[in-house]
């Protein structure tokens, strides 16, 4: 480009200034940052609701909130954490990392990228606004089973339905973008089987999103027409079936579980080899295991419904299919352990979070296997055992991987190292408290405490109190994390270009730290 450089073209070379930079940006790094901050705000919001729940459950008796508000809290906590904290965090990481990992200059569809982010703040504002409306926020659980969510729901349910539609649109657009980017914009030589596992797992996740978000949209639309336009999809009095709602919901809901864990597998598969200084064990079996988990995830949904009165043949099928998932998941765990085996390990903060992930996600996997055994699920279903299970896979699984990813890549993003000592304190503080929080919930559940109750019988008192104490400590640890994040962005020891001794991949080997606003204007050479 010679003397003909116009203002407009010049504009393309750095971020605009002021607030409009963030509103109008089409840059994958900016949009990634926006997603990550949204997700952090949602984590703290949903976390505050969890604190209300744990405070009410600290002792038997109703001390702080009335039962209806308690139900609103569990509902909003679940929705905000799933759709607001975990999913946007992975999309943010995808935005930041996929172009840099495959040697692309940006995402394939940058304007749509901007749109898919900016829908979300409005969706969550609308969802959260129901808390301040007459009749109260939705109080039917994040799984919103009909007819509690249709005939018997508060008027604010319509806001919830519209918010879910918006989140779905955003997710589908994000997924289209990820697929278009990965399939079209890889640098020459970056064949599919050379892609980092994070890229692979996100490619699979994106297909899952496109497959199931429309199903969720269908479910909430049927709710809407049942509520207002005289249909009876979920009303037996009109020839419908409330259990059909659960089939539709879980046909979305089970793949959704893997949407929230597959990218985590990709992150852990990047971090462990770096700090073990040894290549990932069984790369291709990791790819195949991820794909098998994704396919199986479509065939097991009714294991959430063993008590709804399915025929015994249906229960047997869903039990067999469900416990089969343990095989590819086991392969992943074994591969990570084999990657560590005879490595040369160091234990910087990202590695600690990754190891925490492997151990505690495995615990969540064990309880998942137990829950999959249909006759025993008769006793586990809808108890705190289930609550413990999915918090082990979602908090110490998905959330731990996101935090690990932050510590691992933030030097590349900002050029600053985080404070290693604070990072380690954050890890040990979180890991001790999260186990004090969720491990006793296994016991409470086995002893017979149902989930989603604001008050409980006396034999559950001791463990609920311990769990609440763990909850408050874990919540506080994430406020501490906010301090670490801000401190790292503001300054810190300068990171080297490679950041970690054992780091591999284009983002570490081909780009400086911090990565420039526009990276890979020219495709890198991939060995």
């Amino acid at each position: 480009m010679s003397t003909a450089t116009t203002h407009d073209e010049h504009h393309e070379h750095g971020p605009a200034t002021g607030l409009m930079r963030w509103v109008t940006t089409t840059n994958h790094k900016d949009i990634g940052t926006l997603y990550l901050w949204l997700s952090f705000i949602m984590l703290l919001t949903g976390g505050a609701m969890a604190m209300v729940i744990r405070a009410e459950l600290f002792q038997p008796g109703l001390q702080l909130v009335d039962p209806n508000f308690f139900n609103s809290m569990t509902t909003m906590h679940g929705l905000i954490m799933v759709f607001g904290a975990i999913m946007p965090a992975f999309v943010g990481l995808a935005n930041w990392l996929i172009p840099m990992m495959i040697g692309a200059p940006d995402m394939a569809l940058p304007r749509m990228n901007n749109w898919s982010f900016w829908i979300l703040p409005f969706a969550f504002t609308m969802l959260a606004s129901t808390l301040f409306m007459e009749g109260g926020a939705p109080a039917f659980g994040w799984t919103f089973y009909a007819p509690l969510s249709t005939t018997f729901a508060p008027d604010t349910t319509d806001f919830f339905i519209f918010a879910v539609h918006l989140m779905g649109i955003s997710s589908v657009m994000g997924a289209i973008n990820v697929i278009a980017t990965i399939l079209n914009m890889r640098a020459p030589g970056m064949t599919l089987m050379k892609m980092p596992l994070f890229v692979w797992t996100w490619l699979i996740t994106a297909y899952l999103l496109i497959a199931v978000m429309p199903v969720l949209a269908g479910a909430v639309t049927m709710m809407l027409t049942d509520r207002h336009f005289g249909t009876s999809f979920f009303d037996a009095a009109g020839g419908g079936d409330p259990v059909m709602f659960q089939h539709i919901f879980w046909f979305f809901g089970h793949p959704e579980v893997y949407i929230m864990i597959l990218p985590a597998f990709g992150i852990i598969s990047a971090i462990i080899p770096t700090f073990a200084r040894k290549p990932l064990f069984g790369y291709s079996s990791m790819v195949y295991a991820s794909a098998s988990i994704a396919i199986l995830s479509f065939m097991v949904w009714a294991h959430h419904m063993f008590t709804t009165g399915m025929p015994v043949a249906g229960e047997l099928y869903f039990m067999y299919a469900t416990i089969m998932i343990a095989v590819p998941t086991g392969v992943k765990i074994f591969n990570w352990v084999a990657t560590m085996w005879r490595g040369s390990m160091t234990f910087e903060t990202p590695m600690l979070w990754a190891l925490g992930f492997v151990v505690m996600f495995t615990i969540g996997g064990f309880s998942g296997l137990m829950l999959g055994v249909a006759p025993v699920d008769t006793q586990y279903h809808d108890t705190y055992f289930v609550v413990a299970h999915f918090h082990y896979v979602l908090v110490t699984g998905a959330l731990y991987s996101i935090i690990a990813a932050f510590y691992y890549w933030v030097p590349k993003w900002t050029g600053n190292m985080y404070d290693e000592k604070l990072g380690k304190i954050h890890f040990w503080w979180s890991t001790i408290s999260v186990n004090v929080l969720f491990f006793p919930q296994h016991f409470i559940g086995l002893a017979g405490m149902p989930r989603r109750i604001p008050d409980y019988a006396l034999q559950f008192a001791e463990f609920n109190m311990i769990s609440s104490i763990g909850g408050f400590a874990f919540g506080l640890a994430q406020v501490f994390f906010l301090y670490i994040v801000v401190k790292t962005i503001k300054g810190g020891e300068k990171a080297t270009d490679k950041v970690w001794e054992g780091a591999t991949g284009l983002e570490f080997e081909e780009l400086p730290s911090p990565a420039p606003y526009h990276s890979f204007d020219e495709a890198p050479a991939v060995k």
């Binding site: 409330p242 009165g309 055994v373 001791e462």
Partner: protein, 380 residues
Amino acid sequence: MISSRLLRRFFAPVLAFLSFISMSSAHADYELNMTQGVTPISHQIYDLHMIVLWICVIIGIGVFGAMAYSIMKHRKSKGAVAAEFHESTTVEIIWTLVPLAILIAIAVPATATLIDLEDTSEADINIQVNGIQWKWRYNYIDEGVEFISALAESSRTNGQSGVADPTGNENYLLEVDKPIVVPVKKKIRFLFTSDDVIHAWWVPELAVKQDAVPGFINDSWAYIEEPGVYRGQCAELCGKDHGFMPIVVNAVSEQEYQEWLVAMKAEAAAVAASADKEFSMEELVAKGESVYAANCAACHGPTGAGVPPVFPAITGSSVATGDISDHIDIIMNGKTGTAMQAFKTQISDVDIASVVTFQRNSLGNTVGDMVQPSKIKSLR
């Protein structure tokens, strides 16, 4: 070390607090594990639970042990040099096939238990269980005995919508006004359905947990081996008072069960007879107060203030101060599209007459009219 000092400083008050709490509460008989229960199925389920648990523990020891060994030995600070290997088809085939074999070993007994669990044929007694927000209606189909069972006020001190208070309540939230009574050593088949939203009837000791779905009937069964009182709760979120609809099953000998049936039938006959009796307004208002507390206060509030707009107030309401026949109609038949239930299937003629009269002449309303049970009987 700083961190251990920090830890001690953080945990010392917590531990002191915990030990104080556990001393102050003498009811510390908590459980760590699943109940073994009192039915053949519950024993099978417990055994299966323990088998899978131990398999998980053993695999866990293997995986975490290998990890821990590696973390101890293969660390850079101990001079470990990274090996180069990154695949082994043999190893990968082994750790695909071995878990598969373990899963098949779990699936075999699980299949047998599941088939037993679902075999509700040849039952001795059939009991229909209806979930209603937030109580249970039991119907002994072969005996014609039918009644509603709800949380006992005494197990929650301050009333359903009042402040709950666990002090001095041994079975806090787990006591009902009328337990169901069943004989031991009989195959009891439960048929579940619901009048409104989905509930789930769960008694851990019987290993019965089944959803009660409006418009559909599910079934399950129990063969109770030992007499005793077995408590459970609703397990499916069913709205505001989901946490307050307990279940109590009283398992007794065949003879006691027969005596109980006779008593229940006599009581039902007395209630039916009382519908023809003439009541004074004072009698109806007095009786209506307790009917209101048991059936209406959960939504409309103990003072009749309600929770508008979802649960309208009774005080000053156009229904409770308007035409009495509309008032009776809404209480007997409910209001479609809302949580207002059809109470004619739940409470007696006397109860309906007294609660209508109570609502019109109390809770701040002073309409001054009343209705006799015989009128309600004629409207059925």
